[in-house]
């Protein structure tokens, strides 16, 4: 049963990111996995092995698309070629919802290929929400936007990050992909209480949750997705689940990728939190 209006896929459980070092294991051993998240851009191509692998995965597993370069927060209009290719992929995967980041990364047609932080202004919220609506109308699939890790804040900001996230999703009437690791990373970099963030966002809009590991440097934390999830992030996850209910959860591991089983075991640690959320709902 859906936990809320934007979270219609509570049966999705715990997924992991589909990454090339695991292709062979997945296709030959066929492990039981609730779902895979794919990076859309890796498959927005005309043919060849990546699409062949994807088609084999689609035959056996549920797949959700996650993008890294729609740049909802860029001031420029969406790239039509990007949208056309993304829509073709949406038709192929039949993704039940689609996610990308609440960030910007391109300007005047030049791409940084990074997830650059937003200035938290009302103008930025209006432009971003308009773009989310435009993309959703074109793709005809529900959209959830993900909070990013950030290492800089802007003088022009008029609100907190969680207020900005709320402003955007309310204006766009879209879901949230809540990345609790990103909240933790940003909270350390910008000295705010991450639990306040989780408490303040509209929980009824949380469509999916990301968990991941990160790297700690002397003066800041970097979102590297190359470590297991640390305890403070699990605590944030527990907070998020207690507010949003049973929510599709995805472990990201993108660098120094260990074996499939190690990644999957790390992801399955989320199960105890999801189970307790289900029990709480039942009571």
């Amino acid at each position: 049963m859906p936990a809320n209006a934007f979270n219609n896929f509570t049966d999705y459980g715990i997924g992991i990111g589909l990454r090339s070092p695991h292709y062979n294991h997945i296709l030959t051993r066929k492990p039981v996995v609730d779902w895979f998240e794919i990076i859309s851009e890796n498959f927005m191509i005309d043919g060849g092995r990546p699409l062949h692998i994807l088609d084999q995965i689609l035959e056996q597993y549920k797949v959700v698309q996650h993008g890294v370069s729609m740049y909802f927060g860029s001031a420029e209009r969406p790239n039509r070629e990007h949208l056309r290719r993304l829509k073709a992929l949406v038709k192929r995967t039949k993704t039940p919802w689609l996610t990308d980041h609440l960030c910007w990364g391109s300007v005047d047609g030049r791409y940084t290929h990074d997830l650059l932080p937003m200035p938290y202004t009302f103008e930025a919220a209006r432009i971003t929400a308009q773009k989310v609506r435009e993309v959703r109308d074109f793709l005809e699939v529900p959209i959830a936007v993900e909070n990013v890790s950030s290492y800089a804040e802007f003088h022009v900001s008029e609100m907190t990050e969680w207020e900005f996230l709320t402003e955007v999703v309310e204006r766009a009437d879209c879901g949230i992909l809540l990345d609790v690791n990103n909240i933790y990373v940003s909270s350390q970099n910008h000295s705010f209480d991450p639990h306040t963030y989780v408490k303040e966002i509209p929980a009824e809009r949380v469509a999916q949750i990301h968990i991941a590991g990160h790297s700690k440097y002397r003066k800041y934390i970097l979102d590297t997705h190359d470590h297991p999830v640390i305890d403070p992030v699990w605590k944030l996850y527990a907070d998020a689940i207690s507010r949003a209910g049973h929510t599709a959860t995805l472990l990201e591991w993108d660098d120094r990728i260990p074996s499939f089983d190690e990644v999957h075991d790390e992801a399955l640690k989320a199960d105890k939190f999801l189970t307790s959320a289900s029990l709480a709902t039942a009571v």
Binding site: D46, G47, V107, R110, H113, D114, P119, E123, L222
Partner: protein, 308 residues
Amino acid sequence: MKLLNLQRRMARAVMTPLTPSERMRPVAPNGRPMRVVAAQFIKPNDRLTSFERLEIYNRQYWFRVLSGFAEDFPGLRAVLGERRFDALAKAYLQDCPSRSFTLRNLGSRLEHWLRKHPSWAGSRKDLAIDMVRLEWADIEAFDGQAAPALKPDDLAGLNPAKLRLRLQPYVQLLDLHYPVDDLLLEVRSDEDTDFASNAFNERRKHKRVQAVARLHPSAVFLAVHRLDFSVYFRRLNREEFIILTELRDGKTLNRAIDAGFRKSSIPVAERPSHVQKLFHTWAALGWFCRPAQNPGEAQGQPDKVEAS
């Protein structure tokens, strides 16, 4: 500050090349101190200055695009050597920043750029351009479109004077001045051997320098194609190359064959059987496909398969 202005300002800073020690430059391209530029739009915190916060993104940008570029062009790196390759990569990416949503297209303008700026390749310009063409063709062949292949039977009974065949979009045809295909395969076999020892790396470097040094000019005709989702390099003879190029460009079968044998040393009497063998091979490799539904989809002139 308006969103667009802020994004332009930050993107300019983020895409400014790093210093040789991979730090953010103290002076912005417009001559102003970068710490002043950064402080105008980025807040400092209790641990990092505005400059240091912006620098994180500046470094991330260059590390990302340079590593993507290096992954795509290991052959060019072998041709130029590490130092010249690094300098070329930075110059190219500064002149031609990504204009695509995907890093896959990062090298799409490299051949054109290198022809305009040959000094970045030093004395091995022609060899470097050949390698760039091969490595870009490899990328295109890897994930290019594959249309349903025509079978040998599909061609039976068609009028060669009117027949236009469409080549699979993933098949890339190259006329090269150096046997860079051999060099790239050697480079890749080295890359596959993942030894961490310094001695091994030195040996590998030495081996590559030797491989490049012994590469002498020779005309090579090559098809970069795909079979069972793997990319292969197939050497072609001159006649094959011309016939395939003409077919790709929308010429009829008769015209393509005529062009292929115009300066050929193959005796006239042997040509029909030669052509038959070639078409058998190409069809077996699945290189021909049905014409595009929409003539605009085809390369060159509209492709057609017309019955006699």
